[in-house]
Homo-oligomer: 315 residues x 2
Amino acid sequence: RTVIVADTAHASVATALHLLGMEIVDAATGPDCRLTGTAVRAAAAGREGDIAIVVASAGSTNAGVVDDLAGCADAAAELGAWLHVDGAYGLAAGLLPECRHLYDGIERADSLIVDPHKWLFAPAGSCALLYRDPSLAAATHTQHGPYIDVFRDVEGWNPSDLGFQLTRRASGLPIWFALALHGVDAHRDAIRVGIDLAKRFAAALRASEVAEPVLDPQLGVVLFRRQGWGRAEWQAWGRRCIDDGVAVVAPTTYRGEPVGRVVFMHPHTPESIIDELIATLEPVAYQHRSQNPGLTVDADSIAHELERLDRTPER
Amino acid sequence: RTVIVADTAHASVATALHLLGMEIVDAATGPDCRLTGTAVRAAAAGREGDIAIVVASAGSTNAGVVDDLAGCADAAAELGAWLHVDGAYGLAAGLLPECRHLYDGIERADSLIVDPHKWLFAPAGSCALLYRDPSLAAATHTQHGPYIDVFRDVEGWNPSDLGFQLTRRASGLPIWFALALHGVDAHRDAIRVGIDLAKRFAAALRASEVAEPVLDPQLGVVLFRRQGWGRAEWQAWGRRCIDDGVAVVAPTTYRGEPVGRVVFMHPHTPESIIDELIATLEPVAYQHRSQNPGLTVDADSIAHELERLDRTPER
């Protein structure tokens, strides 16, 4: 059976569907990179009865934009398809009142995920998976064996029945602990820093003479182009920013065009990073420090950095 | 395509193959619970050209026995099938010279796994997956996206190309650290304790008047029957052993027959556990302490327990 996937969906969606032996139909997104109900209907044309799932993103990995979830939910309902929302990176921003409207329609998803190891600052390897009807998941995923089934006589709920993994770490505990210790507001504030920096960086790009943002950032991702730069120049830029200790950045593509990409996430990222990044794009202002092969790190500089971070005011 | 799986294979094998949409053919094991080349050939009869994979265990979860890997390798070669060896629990014992013969033939596997979070004492959630030809895995699993492919310009090897997961913890680090700190011999010794205890427990069962082992233990798992006990009695036994703090045990089945099951693993398990476990099976000797509802744990008893463990001599 067939699954409709935006041409902007994360690579792991294709991998998962390939393993499942399901056929993928790419839905074309427009210049704003958002999947819409219209795009879903266009992709389904001619095989309406065969669409099993519609996969929407909130937000997409490459450009960090949230699909038109309400439109996707309408189209999925018309097609009798399951609606899955991939909020691995972006769903965390749903905590912010000023971002909440981006997620309108998510309440109609049949399943959704968020990776707390991304924008909820938890250790790597955690994923929260929510089902509208968990009994369907249990019917699909519950494993049976004489050494397992004996525990089913005990009343209760077992998270290993709701996914294909059996032994798992208690990766929800650090998230619970962080929420209990710092509270939801601290998480909101921390996420807000990334979004604010993205918007400031986009404004600084617009004010610069050589570069411009490709899209107005919705979340913490900024894609941008620079006059005269192609793939080789962007590749060299990424390498240089890392070597010089400015930022860990990498180029990407926007609808086939090589562009720069920056993701703001850490709540202690200093505002000065914006000027530093702009300088890497300007031909004169930025003095490339890469005469030294790679970064030089010593105990003193680490101690200094820790002291500096400690002094950064909580935002 | 079709996969030959022993009727003793772990439930996760069936789950994985179900996700892949592959057809499972059960191969019947004998009283010793081991998959043999003969059993593989019998299962393949009539569909020789369609067998994609043979899955063997080293050792099986329920009974802890290692399949006839050399025989399975012969049969897989005749069928032109991939040989996968599931050593999640048992492969660790291959470190012991006295157990090495159990694994003869494993050098012919196309892929094999071991879970270091089992008998290599690493934190939960680690799996070592080895391929004979990693380039086949890379061709299958490498994910592509504009935000990922940029890193492919860098020379080198990326473990995320060899499995379907992209973001992963560095779960190999604790294993490397434990090996570097304690050495391979310490791991051998720790595994040996479990096997010794299993053999002693089996001997104690034989010496008892009421119970007997179902199989001679190969590794650290002992299945055993007791006169007059059916499913209900075994279920009550498991509950009682947990409530009384004797051991965390659970009944299982051996070829459909309800039996007891004990797995020895922790290297500091005291030898006295054998007499304690035998007592739980004898009608007179064991005074059930479960007048108390569940275990009572307080800070004093935990401190006492830690002190006791600290005094247990290294074995």
